[in-house]
Symmetry: C2
């Protein structure tokens, strides 16, 4: 277990080899063993292997090549649709059309996703998360026919590793860990904690390539710009509302069946 | 790895034995090896062991006993504070005061949390997630001194197991997995997928104890009521806004330093 965790890296090049059904079944079952809220299991995993649907997912995920290369694409969704249906068939009126319920489903979905990733890696396979899931969730809803009360939260591609990269650098553990309470960072702390990352050959290469002065500017001006973040913030909030998770008043709606 | 995943159960009774520092360090390091968005690592882990602070956390977490019993409480937060400080010290203007950035940090925090849980279990320790984190996030912010751009998302308690419960039941894997696209559930599907859960002795006992007709009613009327969900939805949205993640317009704010 610990070895699997400590040797994790995101894989972006896959062979054409399929993932065996028994292995995929084990990965999915591992997902369902993750802790979840009140044992309601308010998430779903959509397993896409069909090349035509994968092609559409590839478009929605900014045409990242691993979506086409990897034989299996798992879309993890916050999902109260199943639970609500069960409630209504059992003389119970669900009150899960609000933001807290979306968060509950998102948390369930993400813990299940990490279990699937580690199970896949324990089986010798490679994985990669797609952050683009929250950007183009509206497109994923169309492609995967997601009904009301279902919102995509993350995506994992899985396949056989064609190219194993080095372990990715991380900030020192002390950068993300706070003892007892939150310890604010002084400018000196920031300098010290980011020193190793800023001195990496990869960083130097990126600065030359982008003709920028600092690594932080590559994030704010190239990779994760305010303009994009604002666009995708509003799109995702709209998706959450349209999928029925923004009725934050005491009045029940009883919308979808 | 797979054995750890498949034998997971939430532990709610702990011995008084402390968690060794080297083991805790390994658990926290395991958290930092999880995949994260763009390698920005926009999350933090607050490690609370001090009995007085734990007492306050216990109050905020609905006085669930495991918060007092377990020697270690880990609060996982979406955190752009560190990243924003780094940007500003490096001539870069961060645009991360919006909802997408909150989601990005929450995703990072949750993947790290699941790594910590599995690492703790691989070390023979017990763990339990506290869903109450999103309910009383405002109180956790006060107790843990969380600054702007930091929002608690989940909490994990860790300690030595005093009582090992049976594995918890789960819906059949086919209940949460959809092939290629989302397959809507017929009433017959719901009956079939929930049959085993509804027939459990635990379910029968709960119905008798609560004098209710269906298990679903225990969720909607007792455990997760609309009234509570609405209250906590509005509280959590307010927290997200107050911590600086709801400026979803193109205009930069440049608020916190």
């Amino acid at each position: 277990m610990l070895n699997t965790i400590f040797t994790h890296r995101s894989i972006r090049k896959f062979t054409a080899e399929a993932v065996e059904k028994t292995v995929l079944d084990d990965i999915l079952k591992a997902g369902t063993r993750a802790a979840n809220t009140g044992n309601m299991q308010v998430y779903s995993i959509v397993v896409t292997q069909d090349p035509q649907i994968k092609q559409k997912l590839w478009e929605a995920h900014f045409r990242q090549n691993m979506v086409l290369q990897a034989p299996v694409v798992l879309t993890f969704c916050a999902d109260f649709n199943r639970f609500n249906k069960w409630c209504r068939l059992r003389k119970a009126e669900p009150g899960y059309d609000n933001f807290l319920s979306f968060m509950t489903g998102a948390i369930d979905a993400l813990l299940a996703a990490q279990n699937c990733v580690l199970a896949a890696e324990a089986h010798g396979l490679g994985t990669c998360y797609l952050g683009t899931t929250t950007y183009n969730a509206d497109q994923l809803i169309d492609i995967l026919n997601l009904p009301e009360s279902v919102v995509p939260v993350t995506t994992v591609v899985i396949g056989h590793v064609a190219e194993l990269p080095e372990l990715t650098d991380r900030l020192p553990v002390e950068a993300v860990v706070h003892a007892e309470q939150y310890n604010q960072y002084t400018p000196g702390d920031i300098d010290r904690l980011y020193a190793e990352k800023e001195a990496l050959p990869l960083t130097k290469a990126l600065l030359a390539e982008n003709q920028l002065e600092t690594l932080a500017q590559i994030f704010t001006q190239k990779r994760y710009t305010r303009k994009d973040n604002v666009t995708f913030s509003n799109k995702y909030l709209k998706v959450i509302e349209e999928q029925g998770f923004m009725n934050n008043s005491d009045k029940g709606q009883g919308t979808s069946q």
